[in-house]
């Protein structure tokens, strides 16, 4: 298990090197990477604020829950804060399980909870100003399936 909350850029593919491999009890690895998107063509960067201390606690609690519920063999969560360029990875999760359904479900569970329950706040920076990203009702609603 590996959890990292960091300002530095990271390479999702490098983080996955060897993950879940070479053992008899893992049949499925799922990874998700979130990247900085620009739907308007106006964005210069994304700024992410977080709550040091609580962030790590909240993520660790989520990962423990996922490991128990889906009997994961391994799990990774990496999440950046600070200033991020368009197209850069924001965060990733990876899960290793016996079967594909467990690996997929655990990854989606982690994503849904990281969206709405980990203390991060995104701000879109444009040439003319900056705007906090509003939480989506659909993200809150997504939690009800778990």
């Amino acid at each position: 298990m590996r959890i990292a909350v960091q300002e530095a850029a990271f390479d999702p593919s490098a983080e996955l090197a060897g993950f879940g491999q070479g053992r008899a009890d893992v049949g499925a690895v799922v990874s998700f990477t979130g990247l900085v998107r620009d739907d308007t063509g106006q964005m210069q960067a994304l700024e992410i604020e977080h709550y040091p201390g609580m962030t790590e606690r909240a993520i660790a609690a989520l990962v423990e829950q996922a490991i128990t519920r889906w009997a994961l063999a391994d799990a990774v969560v990496i999440h950046r804060y600070g200033r991020l360029e368009i197209g850069a990875p924001i965060m990733m999760v990876a899960t290793a399980a016996r079967h594909r359904q467990a690996a997929f479900e655990a990854a989606e569970f982690l994503m849904d909870y990281l969206k709405s329950r980990a203390p991060f706040w995104k701000k879109e920076i444009t040439a003319t100003g900056a705007a906090w990203v509003e939480a989506k009702e659909s993200d809150e609603a997504a939690l009800s399936r778990w």
């Binding site: 979130g34 604020e49 977080h50 709550y51 201390g53 609580m54 606690r57 909240a58 999440h79 924001i90 965060m91 994503m111 990281l114 969206k115 709405s116 329950r117 980990a118 203390p119 991060f120 706040w121 995104k122 701000k123 906090w132 990203v133 509003e134 939480a135 993200d139 809150e140």
Partner: protein, 82 residues
């Protein structure tokens, strides 16, 4: 003495990321009412509580929670991680 933390637009509206306050408020809701009477900045920040979340000692909580024994109260908008 309790430590108050503010994040995102709550931090911007209140103007500081953290501060220590003396308060005898029994609950988070009482504390918010007290702050709103102190300065218009708080009144602006806490105008719509449906858009404000609270954590007590780094655990998500709610406005009806008691403050007894709590050292760190954080206010912030709905989270937008991931």
């Amino acid at each position: 003495m309790v430590e108050l933390l503010y994040f995102a637009w709550l931090r911007e509206r209140i103007g500081v990321p953290r501060e220590q306050v003396e308060s005898t408020a029994a609950t988070v809701a009482d504390l918010v009412e007290e702050l709103k009477t102190r300065d218009p900045r708080y009144a602006a920040a806490f105008a719509d509580l449906s858009a404000v979340r609270v954590a007590l000692d780094q655990d998500l909580s709610d406005f009806s929670a008691p403050l007894a024994g709590v050292r760190e109260v954080a206010f912030f908008p709905p989270m937008t991680g991931g």
